[in-house]
Symmetry: D2
Subunit: 390 residues, 4 copies
């Protein structure tokens, strides 16, 4: 019983996902980095089947995922031959790569309008029959609509300023589900507000489908969440938090563009107040781009606080971590969980899933909590829903 | 409704506790570092009243707690005058300070036998009427008895090699409870196995009393527990863990004696397997003594693991933390919780309390778990028992 | 034989300097942080006498240095009464505080033109008779003139955009020296190019005076220089350098304004190529402002390289350091050395001094070198000139 | 004009040396990690020719260096075929591997006496005609003789307790030089005191030969030296130094044996006083063995000090560094420099070389200095002697 997956954005994360899943299926890789791998779930990792991939980079469109993978991770990973079967298709651009040094073209440029581009996607998906569609393209400036009509009008009048590619993709996914009656799971691991957009959640609910998001929680942010929980549980009074991030992948390059950086910053800051209960002064944002670091970023964090008798303690954390594989590992479970939940009648969005997997959990207004708490709440929820057995 | 407290070992921890509690009572200090301060509990911090103190160091016995405090923390803290009312009494030594550069004498030396010393303590406590007795003396080599008879025989034949001071104190507490019918809480925050000793737990159960222990969980150990939980929840495969600790207080000095160091090492290692599910190679122990660091120790930790696609990540944590205040803050809650529980009929030991507060939670054979999980389990337990309201 | 000193900018650095010098004179403070304190120099620290202070902040002008010191460092340092004798005078502003949340007014605003303001300063200095004038005001955007005429014309036509306060101060110092025949030392420890400005150096040469600068070398930059030297001497091939700086003093606040940040960035980057011999990719700049950190900044640095057999090593440095005292300590020696040199006939600028003490050593085009090398070259030079005895 | 080299101890360092030199000769490797590679020296790296190798481990004796290398570094490095030409011979053991889990046998066991073993070596070397002999075997407990007669008597009466393998090797080297009239360079990069042993230095002087040593300066020690120099030059007052080292190679395993650990500890501590001028409290020693770390050790260092106005700063350094390649890179230059010097008439030992390359520079009583200073002194010396051209 396969889970058919379509990837939007064949970048490092999508490539690590594709390579890792195929290696696990071949039995040559342990599922490290897949959170719930140790539990028996209704879907196995081996059930995942990637059936489609989209991008807008002219260097990728038309190539096979195998070719893309060899180029981007071939020096550090063996690339499975099975990825030769998937060819990267042209997606919707809507300016998501603006200002970056890549040659890009979107379906809307080819077909003349965003609406036509969306229709083309729906058609293609009717062929590919995805169960899960994963949005993992470049971070783009994007704003929630919250109103279905406003969203639909923006598409109608081809308002390319207001519309983000992720909204266009999500809307296409909704149409596909509605028109085929086949529920779909849209997994949004980029900062664009989709699971936090009332309009999107409403549409997915209507189509018996599920949108999970927003912005995958990997790297320093979930670790900070758990460190803050650790401090809060001891009633230590946090004086300030500084967190620096620097990396050399194109995701960091993209974040040097101020509007994109801002998309991330907001996300990262919300955890402080939600967990501590007060807004401890903090500086948390992607800090810089340094090419030789590649996908293995360097993170430095300083936290200090008042302990008993008002004396001061200090903590410094330094990380050297692989950025993209971390998210790829989460995608494995998001795929399996999403599919199992939608089959069990969950629709709209699923906060317990988002609370663990996402930096900015939908729906709109939902609180962040420490990851360790979210993990156990999710475990209970998955057991209750029958997604995890025993 | 006061909680009457007796301290065993008027060292840095006990002194921070005494000073901090009095400062909070005066309203000059926020209860930072007291884990459950933000909840409404049946006993308030202001209910804590220190009524007695014991030590074996000739420099301390006979002095007031005020004098001891001025000498040890007077340079960094204001010392409340109220501490002039408590004079340090002579306790039982039983070799706990052996090999250390202090002039010591125990009650058993004065009175000729351990049994006589125990009886003297029981007498004094009948006067002082403690509700809670806190064992916070120097780490000593100690072994569990597990058999009440074996313990009582060791006292009877004055076997000073086999008996530890902590066992003698706990036995005295039991006698005091039994003879007065007044339930007592014995809080053991040093590594000696008491809450893990079947014999001690049995005696306390018999006397309607409670022993909580062993070895207060402060510093790097609970943080490591939560970091490992964080990694385990993402199914990251831990390759190794190195943790160094160096400090300049007499507790670190004591741990340069190999047998004492071993008491700590075992404690610290048990978390790895209990949380990860496998025994990741690790090096975790108090590493050295460096006088100028004083009570603010330096901790460095290296953890690395395999993430998705078997790539390797690395984490380094460096801490500069006040050692003794951390434990003093926990003692505030252990005192309040212990008293409330024993009044509500809890007896023997209380695993949910130990699991959060202790490095080696009793009873014997009990598992370690991450602190964040233990915290929420304890919260549920305290609500259920009515110790925390609402 | 006193050295008469005037301070420009009564901020944290100037205040630490004033307080520290007075405390050393009273015999209550060891001269830690004063590089050449252990050598016998022709001028002793006790010879330093602060005779004047200038600022443009309305909160400071008219107050005594004592009042300013109590407010800014009174919580961490004893403030000597002798500082009551110096009152902060109004200096030249020329927009150096633009965009910052302070109420400011310059002499040029009061007197109508920059030229008038400069003349006023010269007059005042004829009274105060300074030997050494220290520029330690807020970092400002500033550009070198390199041409005396261009500089003088800018003053003449009151071109407040082109002129920086530091240039105006330096020009006033030159006039003062020329008119009185009394050689002066102008110590510039802010990024403005003065010792690197051919025009300024030429004027000082003409007046038998000395300008030392630019931008005092404290904190992470000289440490990085020495770490890079360490690596270069082993022919390790540096792959990249990341350096983050965050602090909570007004200097960091000022650097959040982009043009000011740029003044620092250039300075900090020049060391890489000068020491390694190739331009290793690097990210080095003041990164953020976080108020609770105050004057004790947090620095994190990551350097990695290829060692023998092309294997990769990594180094992480974390610092928590007092920002302003570090520069104040250097000022003590710059004052003593500058005075001794100018008396021995040195004029223009003095590269051996700048190479050790400054991030951007003048004259124009001069190379950076590791601090350890610069130190020994300076020692030789000072011995040769008779400034250090034996 | 080849330099013929014999290796004593075919462990990780010797293997990295052999592999690296051959790779450089093949033109496939840049000489990173070779300090003076950027200077023109009378001998080129390509002149190095390894002609012999000795060990006592039964797993290595009789194998080719190629086989040994494939087994120990084959997973991370390409191993050149040219190493098939060198077969590991049996060396002198004298208990240097005692207490370690290896099956060993020494020539003295085979031939009945140490004297016979030494004679055998001299014979073999007359065949191999080495110019440079490198002692890089397992760290062993060893004590200087300082008296030639005492050394010769220990050999005569086969006193295996008193004699160390390194002394026996050095004596054999002396005999070989004396008997052939061919000057030899003995490079000792292990802690055994040879260049600090008056007896050894005297013998080498007599034979027109050179002993360089002791204990190669790699890793945290020379870095600490340069950091301390950095602090000393600013007259910062160091409060304490903590340095932890943990690794997983057999060198770390060997150092878990207390007597071996002590050999290293002394070495590492001597730098503090020599550089700072006072004995700042410190804890510096190899701390532990953790197998998964392999040859890439983890180092953590904490240094704090008083800066100007007696405020306190803190520095933490964390390293993850390849242990053995670092020393192998130094051996390349020690070989070239040693050979060039001995040809230019240098004999006994050469302090300027030792001061840069060694942790415990001979001769006896010589001072440690910061590496950066030592580097420039060595550069001058090498230029003066004509070893480095221009
Ligand atoms: N740990 C993580 O890596 C992590 C965590 C959270 C979120 N994210 C987010 O995941 C996304 C992907 O990260 P990555 O490292 O793979 O980045 P990447 O730059 O390697 O890949 C992004 C890919 O998306 C493509 N793309 C851009 N616009 C597109 C569009 N409109 N339609 C289709 N394809 C488009 C690009 O051409 C590129 O191939 C980013 O938005 C990132 O912020 C990553
Ligand atoms: N964070 C922490 O500080 C922490 C955490 C867990 C456990 N602990 C344990 O708490 C204990 C106290 O720590 P500290 O920092 O206060 O140490 P300390 O050395 O400052 O104080 C110990 C005191 O106990 C006294 N003492 C020794 N033997 C005694 C005896 N038999 N009877 C009565 N008094 C005796 C000593 O004279 C001394 O005054 C230690 O065993 C330590 O391992 C501390
Ligand atoms: N370690 C260090 O602190 C360090 C190192 C190198 C350079 N610097 C430079 O030293 C300078 C002073 O640093 P600080 O920490 O004392 O900063 P600060 O902000 O505490 O003090 C600067 C003072 O200068 C005054 N000022 C501003 N413009 C002026 C003008 N035109 N004339 C006279 N006064 C003026 C301000 O009102 C303020 O009182 C900054 O430029 C800083 O970048 C500092
Ligand atoms: N950066 C560094 O690695 C570094 C720095 C300074 C000093 N050292 C020293 O260099 C030496 C070698 O380090 P390594 O990492 O190669 O260690 P290793 O354990 O990998 O190799 C040592 C080799 O010496 C052999 N050996 C032992 N006793 C011998 C004897 N009597 N005669 C001949 N061979 C003998 C062993 O069998 C082994 O093959 C150690 O003493 C170490 O302390 C290393
Ligand atoms: Mg990424
Ligand atoms: Mg303690
Ligand atoms: Mg400053
Ligand atoms: Mg080694």
């Amino acid at each position: 019983m396969a889970i058919r997956v379509v990837l939007l954005g064949q970048g490092l994360v999508a490539t690590h996902f594709a390579v890792g899943v195929e290696r696990i299926k071949k039995g040559e890789l342990e599922p490290y980095g897949v959170p719930f791998a140790k539990y028996k779930m209704v879907y196995d990792i081996k059930d995942i089947e990637i059936v489609g991939s989209y991008d807008v980079d002219e260097e990728k469109v038309g190539k096979t995922v195998y070719e893309v993978a060899v180029k981007s991770v071939g020096d550090i990973l063996p690339v499975p031959e099975t990825l030769k079967n998937i060819t990267v298709r042209r997606g919707i651009h809507l300016g998501s790569m603006e200002g970056l040094p890549f040659r890009v073209k979107g379906l809307e440029d080819e077909l003349g309008s965003t609406k036509a581009a969306i229709e083309r996607l729906v058609e293609e998906w009717k062929q590919l029959q995805p169960d899960v569609i994963i949005e993992v393209a470049t971070t783009e400036p994007a704003k929630a609509f919250h109103d279905v009509k406003a969203l639909e009008e923006a598409i109608e009048r081809d308002d390319r300023k207001r519309l983000s590619a992720s909204h266009a993709y999500a809307y296409a996914a909704y149409l596909y589900a509605k028109e085929t009656g086949r529920p779909v799971v849209f997994v949004n691991v980029i900062p664009s507000p989709l699971a936090r957009d009332d309009a999107i959640v409403k549409l997915f609910e209507e189509a018996g489908s599920l949108v999970l998001g927003d912005d995958g929680a990997t790297g320093a942010t979930p670790l900070t969440a758990d460190l803050l929980e650790h401090l809060a549980e001891r009633n230590r009074y946090v004086l300030s938090i500084a967190q620096f991030n620097i990396g050399g992948n194109t995701d960091f390059l993209a974040l040097t563009v101020p509007e994109r950086n801002k998309m991330k910053e907001e996300t990262k800051s919300s955890i402080v107040k939600d967990i501590l209960g007060y807004d401890a002064p903090h500086f948390i944002k992607p800090t810089g781009y340094l090419e030789p670091l590649g996908d293995k970023k360097f993170v430095s964090m300083h936290i200090w606080w008042k302990t008993f008798n008002a004396l001061e303690d200090e903590l410094v954390v330094n990380l050297r971590i692989n950025d993209s594989p971390a998210l790829a590992g989460l995608l494995v479970d998001l795929t399996r969980i999403g599919k199992a939940l939608v089959e069990r009648g969950e629709k709209g969005t699923a906060y317990p899933v988002n609370a663990f997997f996402m930096k900015d959990p939908g729906p709109r207004g939902a609180r962040n909590m420490s990851r360790i708490r979210a993990y156990y709440q999710l475990l209970d929820y998955l057991r209750e829903k029958g997604v995890i057995k025993a």
